[in-house]
């Protein structure tokens, strides 16, 4: 029952943050960052098994490994961008959070360009000359 532990950590942290925020808002913010990172770190072990299962599946179905690698990288970038944007948003800097999300989208687009190229190539081959 890992969810009970994670929810417990979240609730506990919320109470502590509310207490500390009265005195020192900076420490409350640091606590929020720490709890976010701790929960992510706890979850990432489970994601590991999903990723290895996907790799196995791609191996067996003969999908070129470049595609799976690109997909995993896209997921990783989305993960990091979302995490950072949420932390910055907690501090009340909505504009900076928006920029981080924009940077994440841009980098994902750049990584997806080769795959889009392959797709367009395939579609062009299907069309009668």
């Amino acid at each position: 029952m890992e969810i009970l532990q994670l929810a417990g950590i979240g609730l506990l942290a919320t109470v502590l943050i509310l207490i500390v925020r009265e005195q020192k808002p900076v420490f409350a913010y640091m606590l929020a960052v720490f709890v976010g990172a701790a929960i992510f770190l706890e979850l990432i072990g489970n994601i590991d098994s999903v990723v290895s299962m996907l790799e196995d599946l791609a191996d067996r179905s003969g999908v070129p490994s470049v595609y799976l690698k690109t997909m995993l990288k896209v997921i990783g970038v989305a993960y990091i961008a979302e995490f950072a944007a949420q932390i910055v948003r907690d501090a009340g800097l909505e504009s900076v959070a928006g920029k981080i999300e924009f940077a994440g989208k841009m980098l994902i687009l750049v990584m997806a360009v080769p795959i889009i190229g392959v797709m367009i190539e395939t579609v062009l081959n299907l069309l009668p000359a």
Binding site: Q23, F27, G76
Partner: protein, 67 residues
């Protein structure tokens, strides 16, 4: 999991104690000293948080195949 929970309590404790010391020093009329205490406490907490963030990013890098 245990280490993280105790670190959460540590950070909250540092925050409360620093706030207390800050108030006491302010009452004694040592404003500049009080500010230094806050800064040092902040650096200690920042060190803990950054270490965990580093661990998290290394883990993400390893799992999502960034090289």
């Amino acid at each position: 999991m245990n280490i993280e929970v105790s670190t959460i309590f540590q950070i909250a404790g540092i925050g409360i104690i620093v706030a207390m010391i800050h108030t006491v020093l302010k009452q004694m009329g040592k404003e500049d000293m009080a500010h230094w205490v806050t800064v040092i406490g902040f650096v200690v907490v920042l060190f803990m948080v950054v270490r965990l963030l580093n661990e998290l990013f290394q883990e993400i890098k390893a799992i999502f195949l960034f090289q």
